[in-house]
């Protein structure tokens, strides 16, 4: 099962809230003239206005509480603020902050004198209550102590526990989301080489990195591709590095450049349907050439290359060399041939040489 696309969820959620708030505000604030619409609509509008007047203080207090929750989320998960807000536990944080602020306001309203100005009460509760539930009071402080033996009342303990739980759960949800982004990238950029090049580009393109930071990042990158690290792990690490450096926007840009959608790989044509004949890449042609026996590769090269220096290179490279595998002898010839003749011409020549069934 795929992890939910948190950025998309944020965009949709944010858009819906903006539309709902704008629509309700417009409906309540602009009364229809009598007779312009059905009477029941005018009645509903009057009731909605009365309800809004009643609920306005609660909504304002809830808004202030939620704003504090939003600030906490976006500062804790500063690399993925939108995604953190869109997670399930991010939503719980917002609703809990808003709900607690409303409850505090209701309690304050009951005990506050009736003459208390509503706006002052809203601001006092909306800002004071979040402060209160995050506060640790020190009643007695040891002289010169490290704070361990002070007499304290930690009113914020309960919220700290909830915050810690939320942080862990949001981090887990974001981990799945990051993995999904890396998988999308690896679906389109599968080789260590291109992932490494992309990571280098991401480091160099970052405008905010100082020269020292850039150098440190490049050195970190080298550790990622240490020869002891397996290619599979190197690929995943490079994917994560690119995500860390360029964020989800860069992943979307890169995946989009390779014609990628939300899925991890390009769609395959339905079975039986004639797939469009894609031109083979130069690397694919080189690999095919490197599979040929040395003699055949040399013969083919000599038939395609004309310049004497090219023929010399092929001839000298094909000489058996102690300590160098046959593949490492053939691959440079294959690259040389493709670079000088072109992948298309080589592909045609390969097709001519294939035995017909």
């Amino acid at each position: 099962m795929n992890a939910p696309d948190l950025r998309k969820r944020f965009r949709i959620g944010f858009g819906l809230w903006v539309i709902i708030i704008a629509a309700v505000t417009l409906f309540v604030a602009v009364p229809f003239p009598a007779g312009s619409v059905a009477q029941w609509i005018i009645d509903v509008q009057a009731q909605a206005r009365a309800g809004a007047e009643l609920l306005a203080p609660l909504l304002m207090v809830a808004g202030l509480g939620a704003a504090v929750g939003l600030a906490e989320l976006s500062s804790t998960f500063s690399d993925y603020p939108r995604e953190a807000i869109a997670t399930q536990w991010g939503q719980y944080t917002l609703w809990l902050n808003a709900g607690a602020a409303v409850l505090a306001y209701l309690v304050a309203r009951i005990y506050a004198p009736a003459s208390t100005n509503s706006i002052i009460l809203i601001i006092a509760v909306g800002t004071g209550f979040p402060t209160l539930i995050r506060t640790k009071y020190t009643i007695a402080k040891q002289f010169g102590g490290d704070g361990k033996d002070d007499l304290t009342v930690n009113i914020g303990w309960l919220y700290e526990q909830f915050q810690s739980l939320c942080k862990k759960q949001i981090d887990l949800e974001l981990m799945a989301y990051r993995r999904m982004q890396v998988d999308r990238l690896l679906g389109r950029y599968s080789t260590v080489q291109e992932l490494y090049q992309t990571a280098v580009y991401a480091i160099k393109a970052r405008a905010t990195l100082s020269d020292d930071e850039e150098r440190r990042q490049l050195e970190d990158l080298l550790k990622t591709i240490d020869p002891k690290v397996s290619p599979e792990l190197a690929r995943t690490d490079l994917g994560l590095k690119i995500l860390e450096l360029g964020g989800v926007s860069l992943i979307e840009l890169l995946v989009g450049a390779r014609g990628g959608g939300a899925g991890p790989a390009a769609p395959t044509p339905p079975s039986g349907a004639a797939a469009p004949a894609a031109a083979p890449t130069a690397d694919a042609v080189v690999k095919k050439l490197a599979e040929l026996p040395v003699a055949e590769l040399v013969a083919m090269s000599k038939s395609l290359l004309k310049a004497q220096e090219d023929l010399d290179f092929v001839e000298k490279s094909s000489q058996p060399t102690p300590g160098l595998s046959e593949l490492r002898q053939k691959a440079p010839i294959a690259y040389y041939l493709v670079a000088h003749v072109g992948a298309d011409a080589v592909t045609k020549e390969l097709a001519k040489r294939q035995p017909t069934p």
């Binding site: 599968s190 080789t191 260590v192 080489q193 490494y196 090049q197 280098v200 150098r215 490049l218 050195e219 080298l222 591709i225 240490d226 020869p227 690290v229 290619p231 190197a234 690397d283 080189v286 690999k287 490197a290 220096e309 290179f313 000298k316 490279s317 060399t321 300590g323 160098l324 593949l327 490492r328 002898q329 691959a331 440079p332 010839i333 294959a334 690259y335 040389y336 670079a339």
Partner: protein, 94 residues
């Protein structure tokens, strides 16, 4: 000991790597028109100097990938100059 010609070849290989980034050693050989054994020799030398990393790569035609270290060109010049100083010290018996 590095002859002036081999130093030039080291510089040439590294300059090329600096330009293109990570690449298959065989492609490097083809692009620089150096023979495979010569290219691998230079790359191994650069790897021992810590200026490039050579690692396995199943996607490469020769199964390997060579990656230049950051600031490798500058480091090469420093190392080559260091070797020259060492040789001078040895000649003087210091």
């Amino acid at each position: 000991m590095n002859t002036p010609e081999s130093k030039d070849n080291l510089r040439r290989v590294l300059a090329w790597l600096d330009k293109i980034g990570a690449v298959s050693p065989s492609r490097l050989a083809a692009e620089t028109q150096m023979l495979p054994q010569e290219t691998w020799g230079l790359l191994n030398q650069l790897s021992e100097m810590g200026l490039v990393i050579i690692r396995d790569d199943p996607d490469s035609a020769d199964g390997a990938l060579v990656i230049p270290a950051p600031m490798s060109m500058k480091s090469l010049e420093e190392k080559l100059a260091g070797k020259k100083d060492d040789m001078l010290k040895q000649t003087r018996g210091e």
